[in-house]
C-alpha cells in the first residue's frame, strides 16, 4: 500500500540545518553581546519600571516641592544650556575651520575639557569656586577686600554655574561635530559668493546655515537626550545643594535613595521619560529621512 505524505506531514529539518555556517557564526558571535545587553540594559530598565509602578509614588512626587523645582531646573538646563552651547559651538566651528597653523594647536587645547574625565575636572571647578578657600574668591578678596559671590551656595548662581560647567565640558565635542559639517561644505560656493561680493553674514545665512541646518538640529536633539541624563555636572558641582534647590531630574533619584524612598527614586527617573521619548522618536524620524 502506498502512502503519500503531504508537505505538512514531512518533519522540517532542525534550525541549525537550515542556517548557513555564516549565519550560525553570526548568532554565536552575537550571543554574548545579547546576553550582556539583556543583563545590563534590558533587565535594569525593566526592574526600574517595576519599582516605579506604584501610582502613590507619582502622587508623592507631585506633592514634593523639590520635584517641581528639579523639573523646572531640568527645563532651564535644556532650553537655556543647550541652546547657548550649540550656538557657541556653531560659531566656534567657524573659527576652527580657518586654515592657520596656530588654530590647530589651539584646537588641541580646546578639546581637553571634553577629553579629560568628568570627576577630576568638575571637582577642580568646584574647588576653584569654593567661597572661602577657592582661588576665585581668594583673588577677589586679595584685590578688593570683598568676600566675593557665593558661587555654589546661592541657588540661582549655583544652577548657572552647573550650566556653565556643562557647556564648558561638552562644548568641544559639539564644536568638533559641527566643524566636520562645515568642512564638508564645498569651497566653490564661498568662492562664488566672494565674486558676488557677499559679506560674512550673507555667506553664513545663504551658504553655511542651509548646508548645516540638518546636522545642527540633529546635534541639538541628541544633546538634549544626553543632557537629560547628565548626572555629573550638577551632582559633582553642587550635589543638588544648597538645600536640594539645584537638583535636576537625573540627580533627584539619589536624593530619594538617601531618604530611604526607592520607589520615589525610580519614579523620578521615569518622570524624565515624557521628555526623552518624543526627542528620541523625533530624532530617529529625522535620521531615517
Amino acid at each position: 500500500m502506498a502512502i503519500t505524505l503531504s508537505a505538512s506531514d514531512v518533519p522540517s529539518p532542525p534550525l541549525s540545518a537550515r542556517l548557513s555556517p555564516p549565519q550560525v557564526w553570526g548568532i554565536v558571535l552575537l550571543a554574548p553581546y545579547l546576553l550582556v545587553f539583556l543583563a545590563f540594559v534590558v533587565y535594569p530598565v525593566c526592574y526600574g519600571l517595576w519599582l516605579a509602578r506604584h501610582p502613590a509614588s507619582y502622587v508623592a512626587l507631585y506633592h514634593d516641592p523639590i520635584f517641581a523645582r528639579a523639573a523646572v531646573n531640568t527645563l532651564i538646563f535644556l532650553v537655556i544650556g543647550i541652546n547657548i552651547k550649540m550656538l557657541i559651538a556653531l560659531f566656534l566651528s567657524g573659527f576652527f575651520a580657518q586654515q592657520r597653523p596656530w588654530i590647530r594647536w589651539l584646537s588641541v587645547i580646546f578639546i581637553l575639557p571634553w577629553a579629560v574625565p568628568s570627576i577630576p575636572t568638575i571637582l577642580s571647578v568646584r574647588f576653584m569656586l569654593n567661597p572661602e578657600w577657592g582661588v576665585v574668591n581668594q583673588l577677589i578678596f586679595k584685590f578688593t577686600g570683598d568676600d566675593g559671590p557665593n558661587w555654589l551656595n546661592d541657588p540661582a548662581v549655583a544652577l548657572a554655574m552647573a550650566i556653565g560647567v556643562h557647556i564648558w565640558k561638552s562644548l568641544p565635542f559639539w564644536t568638533l561635530i559641527l566643524l566636520t559639517g562645515r568642512l564638508a561644505i564645498s569651497h566653490d560656493l564661498y568662492e562664488a559668493s566672494d565674486v558676488d561680493g557677499a559679506n560674512w553674514w550673507q555667506k553664513f545665512r545663504y551658504i553655511t546655515w542651509p548646508s548645516m541646518q540638518t546636522l545642527y538640529i540633529t546635534c541639538t536633539l541628541l544633546s538634549m537626550i544626553w543632557t537629560l541624563g547628565d548626572f555629573n555636572s550638577v551632582y559633582l558641582l553642587t550635589g543638588g545643594g544648597p538645600a536640594d534647590l539645584t537638583h535636576v531630574l537625573s540627580t533627584l533619584g539619589i536624593r530619594y535613595l538617601r531618604l530611604d524612598q526607592l520607589s520615589l527614586a525610580m519614579a523620578s527617573i521615569v518622570c524624565a521619560m515624557p521628555f526623552v521619548l518624543p526627542l528620541v522618536y523625533y530624532m530617529m524620524k529625522r535620521l531615517s529621512r
Partner: protein, 461 residues
C-alpha cells in the same frame, strides 16, 4: 539496566556520605557579612579589626567586613533591603537618627532581646533604651538594635586664634546673646585685621546632608526650651510657645549666616566640613556633636606616619591651642541640657546568618572588645557601658574630661526615641531646610517656621 540502577544508587549513597562527613566543617566555615561605617581614625578601625580577628579565632566563623563612608551607608543599605541581600550585621553612625526607627516599625529588623537582656545591667542609664523600638507588625516594643556608643554637643575653639584677635578664653561671654555677638562682631573683624585672611568667627553647620546641622539646631531649640513632643511621642507643635521658641531659635541660628559670620559654604556642608574648616583655621569656633575635631590633632600627635614637625603641631594643637567648651547659658539664664544620641547597630529580619550575627554582636559588646573600639575613637564617642565610662581614659586630658563632665551631668534623648517618625524628619533634614529657606531663599523666619511646623505635623502627626 540493573547494573545502571546499582551504579546510580552507589553514587547517591557516596554523595550522601560525603555530605554527612563535610557538614560540620561547612558549619564551622560559615561566613557572616558585616557592614560598618568607616571610622574617623585608624585606631578606631584597627580596634574593630582586632575584635573581628579574635572572634574568628574563637568561633571559627569568618567575618567578611565591608566599610563604607558614613554618607554612603543608608543608600547602600536601602538598596540591599530592596534586593533582599542584606548584611548579617550592620552599623552606621546615621542609622539611629535617620532610619532605624522606621525599619523597626516596618518589621524589617531582628529582635535582639535575647542578647541585650542578659547584658542589661552593664549599660549606663539612657543608653539601652535607645534600642527599644516599636514594631508595627508585632504591635510591641522590643530591642531592635544594639547600643554601641553615644555623642553629645560640644564647642571647639582655637585658643591661639582667639589670642591673635586680642582676646582670652576668659573674655568669652556666658550670656546667650553676648556670646554670639562676641564671635561675630568682635572676634571676626579682629582676627581678619590681625591676619589679613578671610577668617570667620563661627562655623555654623547648615547643610541638608549633614546631621551636624540638625543636632546643632536642637541645641538652639533647647536654649529656648522648645519641646516638640511629650514623653509619649505626641506632638506639641500647636502650642504658641513652641512656635515662638522655634522662631527665636531659627532667627538666632540664621543670623550668624546673614551677618556673614559663618562661611558661605556652610549651607552645603556635610558632616566632615565644619571639621575641615576648623582644621584649616578658616573659622575660630564651631559647635560639633563630638570632640572629633580635637581628637584629630591628638591622632596627628601620635601618628608615626607623619613627620616630627607634624606630630609636634598635633601635640601643640591638642594640648595647648584647642579649647573644648560648652554652650553659653540659655537666653533665660538657665543651663542648657544637652541631647545625647546613642548610636545603634542592627540585624535585619531577613539576614541569612542571624544566629552567627548575634554571636558577633554579643562578642563585640564584651567589655574587652567594646572599650578599645570606643576609645579608639580618641574621645569622639562616649561609652554606653558603665565599666567603660569609669575608664581612666576619660580623665586623661582636659578635652575628654569635658566630655565626661557633660555626659555625667545628665543629658536628654532626641525626639526620634519617643516618636520614630522624627527619623524621617531628620532624614529630610527639615531643620536645615528651614534655615536654607531663610538664608538662601530670603523667606521670613516666621514663615519658614510655619512651614517647618506644617511639615512636622504632616510627617509625625
Amino acid at each position: 539496566m540493573r547494573s545502571k540502577v546499582i551504579g546510580a544508587l552507589s553514587l547517591a549513597v557516596a554523595a550522601v556520605g560525603l555530605f554527612a562527613a563535610t557538614a560540620p566543617a561547612l558549619a564551622q566555615g560559615k561566613t557572616i557579612t558585616v557592614w560598618w561605617g568607616k571610622g574617623f581614625y585608624k585606631s578606631e578601625d584597627d580596634a574593630l579589626l582586632e575584635t573581628i580577628k579574635k572572634f574568628e579565632a574563637k568561633t571559627g566563623i569568618k567575618v567578611e567586613l565591608s566599610q563604607y563612608a558614613i554618607q554612603d551607608m543608608i543608600p547602600k543599605t536601602v538598596a540591599a533591603l530592596d534586593s533582599g541581600t542584606v548584611p548579617d550585621v550592620a552599623y552606621s553612625d546615621t542609622y539611629d537618627v535617620l532610619a532605624q526607627g522606621k525599619w523597626a516599625f516596618e518589621g524589617k529588623l531582628e529582635d535582639l532581646s535575647d542578647i541585650m537582656l542578659p547584658m542589661k545591667d552593664a549599660f549606663a542609664p539612657n543608653t539601652l533604651e535607645a534600642a527599644l523600638l516599636y514594631n508595627d507588625v508585632t504591635k510591641k516594643k522590643s530591642y531592635y538594635g544594639f547600643p554601641l556608643k553615644q555623642q553629645s554637643m560640644h564647642v571647639q575653639i582655637w585658643g591661639d586664634m582667639l589670642e591673635k584677635a586680642g582676646f582670652k578664653a576668659a573674655d568669652i561671654p556666658t550670656k546667650w546673646e553676648d556670646y554670639w555677638t562676641f564671635w561675630c562682631d568682635k572676634v571676626q573683624p579682629a582676627i581678619r585685621k590681625a591676619t589679613g585672611q578671610r577668617t570667620y568667627g563661627v562655623g555654623q553647620p547648615m547643610g541638608v546632608e549633614s546631621t551636624d546641622s540638625f543636632q546643632s539646631f536642637y541645641t538652639f531649640m533647647d536654649a529656648y526650651h522648645v519641646k516638640l513632643v511629650d514623653d509619649d511621642g505626641k506632638l506639641l507643635v500647636d502650642d504658641a510657645k513652641v512656635r515662638d521658641g522655634l522662631i527665636h531659635a531659627l532667627k538666632d541660628y540664621t543670623d550668624t549666616y546673614i551677618k556673614g559670620c559663618t562661611p558661605p559654604s556652610s549651607t552645603t556642608w556635610k558632616d566632615p566640613d565644619n571639621n575641615v574648616a576648623f582644621h584649616n583655621k578658616t573659622i575660630v569656633m564651631t559647635h560639633n556633636f563630638t570632640i572629633s575635631i580635637a581628637a584629630k590633632w591628638f591622632e596627628d600627635s601620635t601618628n608615626p606616619a607623619l613627620t616630627d614637625a607634624q606630630r609636634a603641631a598635633g601635640k601643640q594643637a591638642y594640648e595647648q591651642d584647642i579649647i573644648t567648651a560648652s554652650f553659653p547659658k540659655a537666653p533665660d539664664g538657665s543651663t542648657i541640657k544637652y541631647r545625647s544620641d546613642v548610636k545603634t547597630g542592627l540585624i535585619f529580619a531577613n539576614a541569612k546568618n542571624k544566629a552567627e550575627g548575634k554571636q558577633f554582636i554579643a562578642f563585640l559588646m564584651q567589655e574587652d572588645n567594646v572599650r578599645p573600639y570606643v576609645e579608639g575613637a580618641l574621645g569622639r564617642w562616649f561609652p554606653v557601658t558603665k565599666a567603660s565610662q569609669a575608664s581612666p581614659f576619660w580623665q586623661a586630658d582636659r578635652h575628654r574630661k569635658a566630655v565626661w563632665n557633660q555626659f555625667t551631668g545628665g543629658t536628654a534623648p532626641f525626639d526620634f526615641t519617643k516618636n520614630w517618625k522624627f527619623t524621617i524628619l531628620n532624614n529630610e533634614n527639615v531643620w536645615a531646610k528651614a534655615m536654607n529657606r531663610v538664608v538662601s531663599e530670603k523667606v521670613p523666619v516666621d514663615k519658614a517656621v510655619d512651614e517647618l511646623i506644617a511639615r512636622i505635623k504632616q510627617v509625625a502627626g
